[in-house]
Symmetry: C2
Subunit: 459 residues, 2 copies
Amino acid sequence: MDDGAKPLNSDELKNLLEKKQLREIKIKISELNENDIAAFLEELDTEKATVVFRLLPKDLATDVFACMSIEFQKSIIDSVTDKELVAIIEDLAVDDAVDILEELPSNIVSKILNAATPQTRKEINQFLKYPDSSAGSVMTSEYVKLSKEYTVKEALDVIRKQGVDKETIYTCYVVEKSRILIGVVTLKDLLLSHDDELIEDIMDENVIKAHTLDDKEEVSDMFNKYDLLALPVVDKENRIVGIVTVDDAVDVMEEEATEDIEKMAAITPSEHPYLRSTVFEIWKQRIPWLMLLMISATFTGMILTKFEDALSVQVALTAFIPMLMDTGGNTGSQASVTIIRGLSLGDIEFSDIFQVIWKEFRVSILCGITLAAVGFGKIMLVDRMLMGNTSITIPVALVVSISLVFTIIIAKFVGCTLPMFAKKIGFDPAVMASPFITTIVDALSLLVYMNVAVLILHI
Amino acid sequence: MDDGAKPLNSDELKNLLEKKQLREIKIKISELNENDIAAFLEELDTEKATVVFRLLPKDLATDVFACMSIEFQKSIIDSVTDKELVAIIEDLAVDDAVDILEELPSNIVSKILNAATPQTRKEINQFLKYPDSSAGSVMTSEYVKLSKEYTVKEALDVIRKQGVDKETIYTCYVVEKSRILIGVVTLKDLLLSHDDELIEDIMDENVIKAHTLDDKEEVSDMFNKYDLLALPVVDKENRIVGIVTVDDAVDVMEEEATEDIEKMAAITPSEHPYLRSTVFEIWKQRIPWLMLLMISATFTGMILTKFEDALSVQVALTAFIPMLMDTGGNTGSQASVTIIRGLSLGDIEFSDIFQVIWKEFRVSILCGITLAAVGFGKIMLVDRMLMGNTSITIPVALVVSISLVFTIIIAKFVGCTLPMFAKKIGFDPAVMASPFITTIVDALSLLVYMNVAVLILHI
């Protein structure tokens, strides 16, 4: 991949920095992408980074600032003057400013809010009040408003005049008095129409929109479903309060996928990247689930204790417990993870539950028979003949194989139904993944195994 | 969420369809979004769906067709005339046409290719030859080309003339002879510049681009990193062959996240949605891993067999085997899943391995001590006193707690290093998730448990 020969430039720039050739650096660095500049600055120590940061043209400085990690933003804020800080904050898109403020300690937040103009302060405060999971929290107020009486030419003039500060000019929103949203028109529509056509004649009145308190995950799903570049966010009175752009929707998608994956592995999701989290933070994310699952495993232990006598008669049975429990856990999580992902992408609904159960039942019969046959052969050939363990008889191998079939049927059933019921009662289905399924299936598969053993071996 | 009162319209439209008021339907349906129309058509039987499909204006019909599922596209292709088919194919964006053709049976593909014009056929054939995982496979050839000698006014005129058929007009590519890519200019840049400025003066020469054979996952990561709306794809001679637009990049992101999740649950990824896959297909996705993992569990069984005598002396120990193995598996998958996701988002690199190991070591000490303390208390209070199992002594509880600490340290170590080594040697780290880690950690935790037991209990 060729994303602009960054590594080369990085060394070259560090070299120039050593030689204090600041003018050279200024020229070189201004040609780079803001993401690459931010990455380069983070390689330097704070002092040098601040020097280079101050060399950047004002607009670029703000863009670079928005790309930095929170830790680095803090050190930049600490080392610039109040005047420079105002310039950065005023220049940031409101949603970026809000994201940054939410992460900063409160003393720095008030320093920034005091430095901002009253208008910016008002907007930031309004945005800060939306819950973290809502559409409101990811929107920006910098969008293009048009009036339905404009001609195409007038609209294009408005865009040319206001466009510099807007997060996108490619989708424009047609509003009536008090910002009531009545239509949407793309820049493509405008460019492909005649100059004297009226906006109300070319605008699309079927506006796909979200409400401020809608879940941001649903909002990002709409981008996916309708291939949008931007989505307007309205309040209860259908007044437009902001827009969500596709780059922010993409961030939400990645965030939600990470959260789902973390929940599936019994980890409490966190907003911090792994390498920046402290050991204690990671411990807090992981320990509650480990504790809960460890305590739940008591039931499996109790079942084993109950069948202690049977096991001491047929000690050979013990050796197959891990294999049975693991296979149960694995088949169960295959089913649950498939269903969880389907639910989260909207491919599967609760109403599909009978179709899902029927499908999983047939899959588990197929998987069960295959594994039982292979398992039987393996036990007789490897465990009995190759390893010479004569306590492993045909009835023992039969007990294991029959238990396998039932375990797999039960595991797939539990694995596919639990996530759907979790979703139905308003829980996140992702927590019903491998670890929970494994714990439940462990206990059930042991029960099956012991009962089949008692039945066949008469122990 | 208000996405256009679709359910209401669906019933209303079905009603109109019953009464055969086709003109009414034509008016109502033309106002809807193509995704919603496709969803509505899929609710109908094929015959009625074809009737309604034919009512759609030509452009809309093509958009709706692109939104349908493959099964439904097949039935539409079967029921329209060759002439109608040509109209649809010619009107589709080339990348959409290619996606559809890849899924269709070969007799229908040749029917379509025969129906297409030579130009379209050539383009489609070119696209069909890129590997499924490459940037080439997701690009489209419908982009706007500009020449650096154009003025802004001339460029805008070109866009107005060619724009209708282009997948995006918001990012335009500046090319020299033989399509050598020399710069990029956004429609925003054009609109905010004076009419008589030259393209070469406003274009950005630092083009972020991909090569045709780059992995499409890396391409979608670039959209995320640089907040792009479109990315040009060039061949070895830096000639532009197509562009990838953000909506296609978003599809790739979702696809890759699903693939990662499936691999983490030991499922071979599939392109088909769950509800549309046959039982046999699902079985094929799942059985190889189940089989492999079942056979691997043999080692755990062998360890148990080896310690059969020790276990028959201290039968109480058996009851804690599931709890130890589960906790080991759970802590191990927490670590592995965190690392796998970090690797896949680019937050973690192989060079971070020592930092990761050191962090996981400290986390595992914290988790180990917490769980050992709680486990010890639980064993003495619940298992010994409440359940009255006198064979559970303080030494037995100690054996379990000490084994817990070591198991957790080992599990976190295995969980964090295996995915990184997998990545290093060019494997997908996602396969090193829960099931594999669990199988390995099971065996290791049993070894620890049995050795600690022999050491402390002298059995």
